[in-house]
Amino acid sequence: MSVFIIRRLMQAVLVVWIMSLLVFVGVNIVGDPVDMLINPEADQAEIERVIKELGLDRPIHEQYWFFVANALKGDLGNSFIFNQPALKLILQRMPATFELAIVSLLMAIVIGIPLGVYAGLKPDSKISKTVMATSILGFSLPSFWVGLMMIMVFAVMLGWLPSFGRGDTVPLFGIEVSFLTWDGLRHLFLPALNLALFNISLVIRLTRAGTREVVHQDYIKFARAKGLSQNRIIFVHLMKNIMIPVVTVLGLEFGGLIAFSVVTETIFSWPGMGKLIIDALQNLDRPVVVAYLMIIVVLFVVINLVVDILYSILDPRVRLQDLKG
């Protein structure tokens, strides 16, 4: 077990190192670091001071160590637009993105599992067929366009829900959250649903496939023969057995939600990390871009590491296979 974890940890460190190299090469060799990291409005004295500070007058390998050393200290430069440390800006917006992603994940579970179980239990009913056809649309529809149409219908035409921002927030353990206020919930609903669409479809398909397989197993027949109620069979015997793949896939999809929140946040002006990076890209606020890239890579490496380790605990075959290879 510990060998497996150590191996995975080494791999994680390797990925972060490769990414730091890539970002460094992208910024310092493909592009001109003086243009990229120094505010274009700075005067000559300022430019020279920053060049010294960032070590841009040194040889390239020393520059790389400068970059790494600064990054490890948590110093990834100041934003041109906000004139604040880039890292701080991103960390400030992280809770909003996480809130959106977690609420979407819950939506996928709450909407997807009942529909999937129903479609699996009654595969020939009209409702099931409609659900399955809609779930194909959930995969195919470009989610950004669906987001626009949601704004069009629910915010502009019907006027039921607001179309942008986070609404009222209240602090929870020192972090501002939207889901505890009515106004915040109203703001949260459309973006979270938009982000969840893909995963709702995914959960429906997984649950349906699982249900159809499990229904014909002997232990379900036995439970039925024992005279257990339909509800007990569905919620205890069936659910337990279809949840494993659903939970695994959703765990893996959490990272995807964070990445895709870039799109949803842009459409609904949700003030999270994704909106920040798109704004930064458009405003050429490069320190923020660099900081975002590094943070998101570290975040993903951590998510993947956790999923891998959990997976190996749940399924011993994974770690055994890995040790052999």
Binding site: S140, P142, F144, L148, M152, V156, G255, A259, L281, L293
Partner: protein, 307 residues
Amino acid sequence: MSEPVNTSIDSNPEALKVETPFQRFASDFMENRVAVVALVVLIGIIFIALFAPLISPTNPYDLATVSIMDSKLEPGSKSMGGTTYWLGTDGAGRDLLSSIFYGLRISLGVGIASAIVALLIGTSVGLVAAYYGGRTDTLIMRFVDIQLSFPTILVALILLAVLGKGVDKIIIALVIVQWAYYARTVRASALVERNKEYVEAATCLALGDRRILFRHLLPNCMPPLIVVGTMQTASAIALEATLSFLGVGLPVTEPSLGLLISNGFEYMLSEKYWISFFPGIALLITIVSINLVGDQLRDVLNPRLQK
């Protein structure tokens, strides 16, 4: 000599020809009516994309014919000059139907170009990994696994943040995002094929590595590759649209469907829905029809499902 074993032996291609695999393939494909409709629609879309300048009612990027007076007209309204704008006009007075035709051209072009390049690179890498095995294989597949553990949109965003805007840049980004899927697919089927007798026979004939890889292994790995290729083209088109919508994809001079939708976003709040709605429908039809064709291809080409 018509035992099934013979059909898989490379030295006896006649055995395959007798069965005319293409005819069987075509009739299998036709069994699903939805897929046939999707194929017809897809051919129609490709036709529109190829001949956009000839069949568009107006040229939306000819400044001489576009009038700002016609801007934001509703679908079906007539212009000052008497032409009907079936799908309305956008903020600059361009006919939306014509813009969509031209946009399809760019969206499909970028999607297909990137899919082909990714297919070529991914296939070669996957074949090499499967054929040589050992260290080469481990190294390549580790790389593929790591890349696939990041969501495509994130990888594309990182690349475009470094590369900048432009048609070539977005194609490069899409290729880098996609190649790993092809590599993994080809490797999986090549690993199975590698241990078959025809490869052994080819090795005994002392044929070169390259010849065995591309003339013997590759043709037998084609079916899953075709399926993944269709699906990946659809997702490349969707990804390009998303990136262009976000403003990090194509430049304004290459108005793909994603950019058209993005242009309509600002008019959305004043209930001018059509500027974003119709390009989105065009994108949707394209993606869904490619996926439906791909689904049917998967069923037809999967030997396990064959009767």
